[in-house]
Symmetry: C2
Subunit: 329 residues, 2 copies
């Protein structure tokens, strides 16, 4: 099946309309009519070949929401007409310890929603900046938010789970004081989620005076900043046994942290990447229950290149979402 | 009271015999006739002013064992004639959360056994390279090893607790595979302790082929190397959710770790510093029960400068211990 998409033919070319093919819906597949797709910073890194190994044509997009248009014969968990989402993962080995633990995001054979290996043409996965997508049922999430919130749900599929997973893993809850560094697509979700989990959440400024107020007071820091920056200033805010978890991935390393920042208070520096499929479903249910969605600005597909430029300037509060109906025009 | 010691009058001078004064035994103090004192790498850093702030004269030594020679009127936990030890800590605020939690090592006002602030002459603490020491009872540990093992018990007071504390804190036990990086005074204790805790312990070589064998297989890495080195090679050995804890403190930072090393498997880099007083007692009891002592080479006090040179060449298996009776000669 041929569908319309928007993507790039090379790292130094703008995104442009293209026709791509989607595989037939197999026995365990779900066919999805995409309604909206969020625009993640990773999309820019990948499509511009700022990380190694981008394959072209590249169609980004892994914050996908829409409606089920077809299901395979063996699919039991989804049916035509359901509101569903697809995040960063469309396949994994399904056999390793990580997959068995529902942490497909850490599977060595995890297949990303775009630029991942697949037998389907053209040999690598193509993402959500398109009209339709076909995904194995395991990686399709149920959405129980009201339909009129659907566009604002899209960013939960990456920005939401990427912040929810570490907050849960490090047991953030009532009584905790949580710092969030970097208030963009991820950070603004981190604040909403930490708050809904009962924590006292704090936007961590990089202003030295404002930081001094929080010295040695935080239980956990969620650091969403993908640009290299001084980590020691943030360690100083952590209590004994506090952890700072990085969810942003800079193209070059951060300046090396001082070992004393860690050993003096038994602090930890950790990393976390997206989240597993079961916890993504848990996150969507949690957000529906607590009325949490992303703050978004809707764009047409042909506005994507301009949106990228604005994102690089930090000019978005806090996530662009493509209305995929605009691809048909 | 004046006692003999060996120490340095400046960072660029060798250690030499000196007379120092010890305070009278106060109501909560324990007077200790020192029998042996282990020689820690920190001693070299401090006495040579390789870390900031060394005060002179400097008498190092924080792996102290000996016999109680006097107790203050209010002392209940120790009596004259007991075998006891003193480690890296001789005072703390006794009121903060860290002290209340028995983690005096993380108290902001922790006073080190040497070079720490004290009202006693000369205004900073003087360590265990001396005949006697007077210490508040809270920081004096009971030793239940046989007396003929006393010299080899001395290194437990720093090398032992510095490795025991993180192994316990990160729940090392049966079924775990633990890597130990750096087989010196600390590392050789880490191996013995991890083994006694029931873990499968592995000496992590820096040979690439040998490291490849352990890729993604370790639950925990105890990194005792104090010289700056590549951490990413060791992260590659950790399973998902594995932690590498640094207990060595290099004078300059390690090369910055790749963020991807952390986020791809939700790994952590942590630090740990010595251990608290209750867990130091627990460690000594654990070692007595399991017959664990350090591997030592005994030296006379006047051999300390030569011992330092050998330590810097890695020529000791694995800890020098000063026989303090030699100070009297």
């Amino acid at each position: 099946m041929t569908v319309k998409a928007i993507g790039a033919y090379a790292g130094d070319k703008p995104l442009e309309p293209m026709d791509i093919s989607r595989r037939p819906v197999g026995p365990h597949d779900v066919g999805i009519e995409i309604a909206f797709c969020g625009v993640c910073h990773s999309d820019i890194h990948q499509v511009r070949s700022e990380w190694a190994g981008t394959l072209y044509p590249c169609v980004p997009g892994h914050e996908i929401v829409g409606r089920v248009s077809a299901v395979g014969a063996h699919v039991t968990s989804h049916k035509v007409g359901d509101l569903v989402g697809v995040g960063c993962i469309v396949n994994s080995c399904k056999r390793c310890d990580d997959c068995s633990d529902g942490l497909e995001n850490y599977c060595d054979h995890m297949v990303g929603t775009y630029n991942g290996p697949t037998p389907d043409a053209p040999g690598h996965t193509l993402g959500g900046y398109s009209q339709q997508i076909v995904v194995h049922e395991r990686y399709v999430l149920r959405i129980s938010h009201p339909e009129d919130q659907l566009a604002a749900v899209a960013p939960l599929l990456c920005a939401g789970i990427t912040t929810y997973s570490p907050l849960r893993h490090w047991n953030v809850g009532p009584g905790h004081k949580v710092g969030v560094v970097g208030i963009g697509g991820l950070g603004h979700m981190g604040i909403k989620l930490a708050n809904a989990m009962g924590a006292h959440e704090v936007v961590v400024s990089r202003n030295a005076d404002e930081m001094a107020v929080h010295a040695k007071s935080l239980d956990f820091i969620l650091n969403t900043v993908a640009a290299p920056h001084d980590l020691d200033a943030f360690f100083a805010l952590l209590k004994r046994d506090g952890t700072m978890t990085l969810v942003g991935a800079p193209a070059t390393p951060h300046p090396s942290p001082e070992v004393f920042s860690l050993i003096m208070k038994r602090r930890s520096l950790a990393g976390s990447m997206i989240g597993g499929i079961p916890e993504t479903q848990e996150m969507l249910n949690f957000c529906a229950k607590h009325g949490i969605v992303a703050d978004i600005e809707m764009i047409r597909a042909d506005g994507i290149n301009e949106a990228y430029e604005r994102m690089l300037k930090g000019d978005v509060k806090y996530r662009f979402v493509i209305e995929t109906a605009s691809l048909a025009a």
